[in-house]
C-alpha cells in the first residue's frame, strides 16, 4: 500500500460524526451519536472547529455500539451472570462458567444500576436517561414492566421482604421509595448531591447511599460528601455519615456481618494551587473504611489511601469485601487494575496510626497486597458466593475479567456481545477515562469530569499565580460548538484545550500524539447533553417558564425603559447553546482574577451545574442576580420582582 493510500485508509477508518439516532431495537435502544472526524495532524492554532478541525465532517458515518459493562449480578445458584451494559442499554445474560452470552435484553437508555428481587424471580434495572425502572422476569428473560421514577435513576435496591424498592436519583439528589409490586412511588428521601449507588446490608437493617458530587458548601471550603443511611423498615433517613474532603464517592460495600464498611472515592485537592502533580498534589485515590471493626464505634471512619509514592491508582470505583472478610477488592478505573487490600493488615495499621494517614503515600505498602491488571476502565466488581472468584466489568473493553482470588490472577476473560473493532471514538473515550497520560498516572479527564460531566468543584489551576484565577469546573455536555474554551476564552478549540493546555498544566507528562489528540477531541465533541428534565414534551412550557422566557428576551424593563441590546439576557446567551461565544465583563471579576472579562458559558442543563459564575461564587442560580449583579451589568435584573426572578429561573432550567 502506498503511503498515500495508507493515509487515506487511516482517515476513512477514523471517520465518524454528529448526532443522529440509530435505529432502535430491543438491544440497541440508545440514541447514538454519529461523529465527524479526521485524523492526522491538527493545526492547534486554528479557530473554527467545524471547518478546520474536522475537514471530513461531511463524511459522517454511524459509530459503533459498544456494550460498556458497568455492573454485574449473579443468580442464586451461580449459573447465570447478569451484566449491565451502559452504552448498549441492555442486560447481557451470561453462562457464569463459560461466559457464553445466553440472552440480550434491552432495558432503556444508559442503565447504571440493577438488583435482583429476594427470590431472584425479577431483575429491576434503573435506566438513567429514560427515568424508568425496567422489570425483567428472570425465568422468561424479558421485560415485563417499566415504571417511571425520578430524575436520572442510577442505582436500585430492594428490601428483604421484597415489598419496597429504593431508587437513587442522581439529578434530583434523592432516593425514591417504590412499591415493589406496582412500582408506585410512595415517597422521596433527601439524599446527598448526585445520589448514585446503593448498598443494602446483608441483614437488611440499613441501606447506604453514596454520591458522585459533594454537597454544596460554602465558597472555597473543603468538599464534604456523605453516606446517607436509610432505615429500610420505616424508609427514613436515619444518619448521614460525613466524608470529609471527599468528592466523587462511588460504590460502598458492607461485610456480611455488617461490622465493616468500605466506600471507594476521590480525594480532590482543589483548594491548593495546582503547582505540581507529584506527591498526590491534585488527587488522592482512596477508600474510607467504617464500622465497629475499625474500633471507633459505628460512627468512626478512616480514610485509607490506595496510591503509592510514585504511582497512583486513579478513580477507585467498585468495591467488594470477601465473605471471610480477609480482603477488600477495589477497581481503579483510571489505572485498569484491581487493588487488593489485606483487611487484617489494614486494621493493624489503622490501630497503629490513630491520628489518621490519609495523606501518607507510603501507607499503602502496609496493607495493599496486590494490584491485578484487568481490562480497560474496570468498574463494578462481584464476588462469587464462595469468594473464590472475582468478576470485574471492564467498561471500555466490553469484557468481564474472572479473577481467581487465591492466585490473584485473571483466570478467564468473558467477551461480551458487540463490535470487535475499536473505533476512533472509542479510543478517544479510553483516553478520556485513563490516567496513564498524566505524571505517574495520577489523573484522567474524568477525575474532574465525572462520567463526562463535571465535579461541582472550583479549582485554582491557572498558571497565573497562587490563589489567582479561581475557576468553576464547567460541564462537558454538548460543547462541540461552544468555542472558545476556558473561562478567559483563550483556547480557540478543543485540541488546544485538551492538548497543549492539558498536557502542560494538568498532566505534567507526555504529550498526546496527534492521533490520540484527534481521538480524544472526537470523543469530547461527541458527548451529548442528557435529557433536560424540566422541559415539557413537544416544546410546551409551564406558565412560569413562559413568563421566564419573556423576561429572557425582553427589551424593556419593568419601568418601561429600554434595555440596551447588550444588557439583555438573550444577547450573550443566544442561540441553541445559550452562548454567543464571546467574552464580556459582567461585573463579576474579583481581585483574584487577572481580568474581569469572561467567556459566556453555554446554558446546557444549567440547572444541574451549581455552583455558578466563573469562580463558582454563586451557589444557586438565584445568587447570580441577588448577590452578584448589583449594577445590572450581568443583564438588567434589579428591576425584577421576586416572582419574576423565580420565573426567569424556571425558564433557565429548561435550557
Amino acid at each position: 500500500m502506498s503511503r498515500h493510500l495508507w493515509i487515506s485508509a487511516r482517515i476513512l477508518a477514523l471517520l465518524v460524526a454528529v448526532y443522529a439516532v440509530r435505529s432502535v431495537s430491543p438491544v440497541h435502544a440508545v440514541a447514538r451519536p454519529i461523529v465527524a472526524v479526521s485524523s492526522g495532524t491538527i493545526n492547534r492554532n486554528e479557530r473554527s472547529e467545524a471547518s478546520q478541525e474536522y475537514p471530513n465532517e461531511a463524511r459522517a458515518i454511524p459509530v459503533e455500539q459498544y456494550a460498556s459493562p458497568v455492573e454485574m449480578l449473579m443468580s442464586p445458584n451461580g449459573a447465570r451472570l447478569y451484566v449491565l451494559c451502559q452504552e448498549s442499554g441492555e442486560i447481557q445474560v451470561l453462562d457464569a462458567f463459560s461466559g457464553r452470552v445466553l440472552k440480550r435484553i434491552g432495558v432503556g437508555r444508559v442503565p447504571r444500576g440493577f438488583t435482583l428481587s429476594p427470590n431472584a424471580d425479577k431483575l429491576y434495572v434503573a435506566s438513567s436517561w429514560d427515568d424508568h425502572v425496567a422489570v425483567i422476569d428472570t425465568q422468561r428473560l424479558q421485560v415485563i414492566a417499566t415504571w417511571k421514577v425520578g430524575a436520572e435513576p442510577t442505582s436500585i435496591a430492594v428490601d428483604h421482604s421484597g415489598t419496597q424498592l429504593f431508587v437513587a436519583n442522581r439529578i434530583s439528589n434523592d432516593v425514591a421509595v417504590l412499591n415493589a409490586k406496582t412500582g408506585s412511588e410512595q415517597r422521596r428521601l433527601e439524599a446527598g448531591r448526585g445520589a448514585s449507588y446503593l448498598t443494602m446490608a446483608t441483614d437488611g437493617s440499613r441501606l447506604l447511599v453514596t454520591h458522585v458530587y459533594p454537597n454544596l458548601g460554602e465558597y472555597r471550603t473543603v468538599p464534604e460528601s456523605e453516606i446517607t443511611v436509610i432505615d429500610p423498615h420505616n424508609a427514613h433517613v436515619v444518619e448521614r455519615m460525613p466524608l470529609h474532603s471527599i468528592a466523587g464517592a462511588f460504590h460502598v460495600a458492607l461485610s456480611n456481618d455488617g461490622h465493616l464498611g468500605v466506600v471507594a472515592h476521590l480525594h480532590p485537592k482543589n483548594l491548593v494551587p495546582l503547582a505540581h502533580v507529584e506527591h498526590g498534589w491534585i488527587f488522592g485515590d482512596s477508600i474510607t473504611v467504617f464500622g465497629t471493626d475499625i474500633g471507633k464505634g459505628i460512627h468512626g471512619s478512616v480514610e485509607v489511601p490506595l496510591d503509592e509514592l510514585d504511582r497512583y491508582f486513579s478513580y477507585p470505583f467498585g468495591v467488594a469485601i470477601a465473605p471471610d472478610k480477609r480482603h477488600i477488592y477495589v477497581t481503579n478505573a483510571g489505572a485498569d487494575v484491581v487493588t487488593v487490600v489485606d483487611v487484617s493488615k489494614l486494621l493493624a495499621y489503622i490501630h497503629a496510626h490513630p491520628g489518621g494517614f490519609a495523606q501518607n503515600l507510603g501507607a499503602s505498602a502496609h496493607y495493599v497486597t496486590a494490584r491485578i491488571a484487568v481490562g480497560a476502565n474496570p468498574r463494578g466488581v462481584l464476588l462469587s458466593r464462595d469468594g473464590r472468584h472475582l468478576y470485574v466489568a471492564n467498561r471500555l473493553d466490553d469484557t468481564v475479567s474472572v479473577v481467581n482470588t487465591s492466585t490473584e490472577r485473571v483466570e478467564k476473560t468473558f467477551p461480551l456481545d458487540g463490535p470487535k473493532t475499536i473505533s476512533a471514538l472509542r479510543k478517544g473515550e479510553r483516553i478520556f477515562y485513563s490516567a496513564r497520560y498524566s505524571f505517574q498516572g495520577q489523573i484522567a479527564c474524568t477525575n474532574c469530569h465525572i462520567d463526562s460531566t463535571f465535579d461541582g468543584l472550583t479549582w485554582d489551576l491557572e498558571p497565573d499565580g497562587f490563589g489567582i484565577g479561581i475557576v468553576d469546573n464547567r460541564m462537558l455536555e454538548d460543547i462541540r460548538n461552544t468555542a472558545p474554551y476556558k473561562w478567559n476564552g483563550s483556547n480557540p478549540n478543543i485540541p488546544t484545550e485538551c492538548g497543549i493546555r492539558t498536557e502542560k498544566y494538568f498532566w505534567r507528562s507526555q504529550n498526546y500524539n496527534d492521533r490520540q489528540l484527534a481521538d480524544l477531541t472526537l470523543y469530547i465533541r461527541s458527548i451529548p447533553a442528557r435529557p433536560n428534565r424540566w422541559r415539557l414534551p413537544h416544546g410546551q412550557m409551564t406558565s412560569a417558564q413562559e413568563r421566564g422566557r419573556a423576561l429572557f428576551v425582553r427589551s424593556k424593563d419593568n419601568f418601561g425603559n429600554p434595555i440596551a441590546e447588550k444588557n439583555r439576557c438573550v444577547y450573550c446567551h443566544s442561540g441553541p447553546m445559550g452562548t454567543n461565544q464571546t467574552s464580556f465583563d459582567v461585573g463579576t471579576g474579583k481581585r483574584t482574577d487577572l481580568s474581569g472579562v469572561f467567556d459566556t458559558p453555554q446554558l446546557t442543563n444549567i440547572a444541574l451545574t451549581a455552583p455558578y459564575l466563573h469562580d463558582g461564587s454563586a451557589r444557586s442560580l438565584e445568587e447570580i442576580w441577588t448577590l452578584y449583579n448589583p449594577a445590572d451589568r450581568h443583564g438588567r435584573t434589579n428591576d425584577l420582582t421576586k416572582d419574576q426572578l423565580n420565573d426567569l429561573i424556571e425558564y433557565l432550567k429548561t435550557r
Binding site: G150, S172, Q186, R187, R188, L189, E190, N215, E226, T228, V229, N234, H236, V237, V238, E239, R240, W534, A544, A607, R619, S620, E622, E623, T626, L627, T641, K642, D643, L645, N646, I649, E650
Partner: protein, 355 residues
C-alpha cells in the same frame, strides 16, 4: 369513729361536687428552661415527633431526646437562630423550620437552608410552615409560597395572584384538598387545590374591633393562625377565634366562651369539635361544650386551672403545676400528653386522668 365518718361524708360531698364539673384533661406540667438545657426560654414553636420533641426558640432549635437536649444553631446551617415555626414531613421524617432568616430543612442531622437570596423563597421571615405531600407551604412576611420538593420549583402567592390585600402571612395549614393562609390584617385565604381557585374570608365588620352580629363570619381581620382538621377550619385572631365548617361560622370571644383572652397566638384543632387555644393569658382547651384554662395565675403566679361548663359556670380546680408562662405560643401532642411553648419556657403536660 366520728372522725372517720366525717371524713367519709366530706369525701362524698367533694366527689359529688367534682362529678358536676365537666371532666377536662388534668396535667402535671414539667417545665424546661435554659437551666435544664433548653436553648432559650422564649419558645416560639414546639413539635413532637414520636419520642422526640423539637423546640423552636429565640436562640436555636432544640431537640429533646432520651432526656437530653441537643441544640442546632446557625453554625450547623440553620438559617437563623430565631426559629418561629416547625413542621414535620411524616413520610420522610424531615423537619422544616421557619426562622427569622429563612427556611431550613433538618434531615438526619443535615441542615439545608433556603433564603430569599439563594432560593425562590419570597421572604426570609418565615412565620409558618406546613408539609403536604411533596409540597412545603410557607407563610412569610412577604406572602406565601410553595416549594415543590421534587422539582425544586417555588411558587409565590401574594397580592399579584391571590385576593390577598396584605402580604403579611402568619400561618398556613395544608391538606391535599385545601390550603389556608392566616393573613395579618387580611383575613383568611383559601386555596382549593383541585380547582386552583382562591377565596378570601374577611370580617364582615371590616377592620374595626366590633362584632355586630355573632357568628356572622370571621371574627377579625388580624388572623394569626389556621388549623384545618376533619374539614373544619379553626382560626385564631388577635380579637377572638372562629370555627368554620364550610358553611357556618362560630366565633369565640372572652365574653361568651371560656377563652382566657381574645388575643390568640395559635389555635390547633384536634378534630371537628376539640381544639386548643394558645393565648397571651394562658392555654385553653375546648371540648365542644366546656372549656379548661391552664396557666400560672395572673395575680400571683401560682398554678391555676379553671373549668367552664356549658352554663358558663367557672370552677377552679386545685392543681400544683402549670405551664411555664401564661403567654403561650404553641402546642403539640404526644399521645395524651401535651407540650406547650411559652414565652418563658417549654412545658411538658403529663396527662393524669387519661382513662
Amino acid at each position: 369513729m366520728k372522725k372517720r365518718l366525717l371524713c367519709w361524708l366530706l369525701s362524698l360531698t367533694a366527689t359529688a361536687a367534682i362529678a358536676q364539673i365537666p371532666k377536662m384533661p388534668l396535667f402535671r406540667f414539667e417545665n424546661f428552661t435554659v437551666a435544664n438545657g433548653l436553648p432559650d426560654n422564649h419558645v416560639y414553636a414546639v413539635l413532637v415527633d414520636r419520642d422526640r420533641v423539637w423546640a423552636g426558640t429565640e436562640n436555636g432549635l432544640g431537640l429533646y431526646e432520651n432526656k437530653h437536649w441537643k441544640v442546632y444553631g446557625t453554625a450547623d446551617g440553620l438559617a437563623h437562630r430565631a426559629v418561629l415555626s416547625l413542621a414535620l414531613d411524616q413520610r420522610t421524617g424531615d423537619l422544616w423550620a421557619g426562622t427569622m432568616g429563612g427556611l431550613s430543612r433538618i434531615s438526619a442531622g443535615r441542615i439545608d437552608s433556603y433564603t430569599q437570596l439563594n432560593s425562590g423563597l419570597s421572604n426570609n421571615v418565615v412565620y409558618g410552615v406546613a408539609v403536604e405531600g411533596d409540597n412545603v407551604w410557607v407563610a412569610t412576611a412577604a406572602g406565601g409560597c410553595r416549594l415543590n420538593t421534587r422539582t425544586g420549583e417555588w411558587t409565590l402567592y401574594n397580592d399579584h395572584n391571590t385576593p390577598m390585600s396584605e402580604i403579611w402571612t402568619y400561618n398556613v395549614t395544608a391538606t391535599p384538598e385545601k390550603v389556608y393562609y392566616a393573613v395579618w390584617g387580611s383575613g383568611v385565604l383559601e386555596l382549593n387545590q383541585k380547582t386552583g381557585r382562591w377565596d378570601k374570608y374577611d370580617d364582615p365588620d371590616g377592620e374595626n374591633e366590633l362584632v355586630l352580629f355573632k357568628d356572622q363570619g370571621l371574627v377579625h381581620e388580624i388572623v394569626t393562625s389556621v388549623s384545618y382538621v376533619d374539614n373544619i377550619l379553626w382560626i385564631g385572631t388577635y380579637m377572638g377565634d372562629s370555627r368554620y365548617d364550610g358553611r357556618y361560622w362560630h366565633n369565640f370571644l372572652m365574653k361568651d366562651s371560656g377563652l382566657p383572652s381574645n388575643f390568640t397566638n395559635l389555635v390547633k384543632g384536634v378534630d371537628a369539635t376539640h381544639a386548643w387555644f394558645c393565648t397571651d393569658k394562658g392555654l385553653a382547651y375546648y371540648d365542644g361544650v366546656n372549656w379548661a384554662v391552664y396557666r400560672p395565675s395572673l395575680k400571683d403566679g401560682r398554678p391555676e386551672m379553671t373549668v367552664r361548663d356549658a352554663a358558663g359556670k367557672v370552677t377552679r380546680i386545685a392543681v400544683t403545676t402549670a405551664p411555664a408562662h401564661n403567654y403561650v405560643l404553641g402546642i403539640d401532642f404526644q399521645g395524651k400528653d401535651i407540650w406547650v411553648a411559652t414565652a418563658k419556657g417549654l412545658s411538658h403536660g403529663v396527662r393524669l386522668n387519661a382513662k
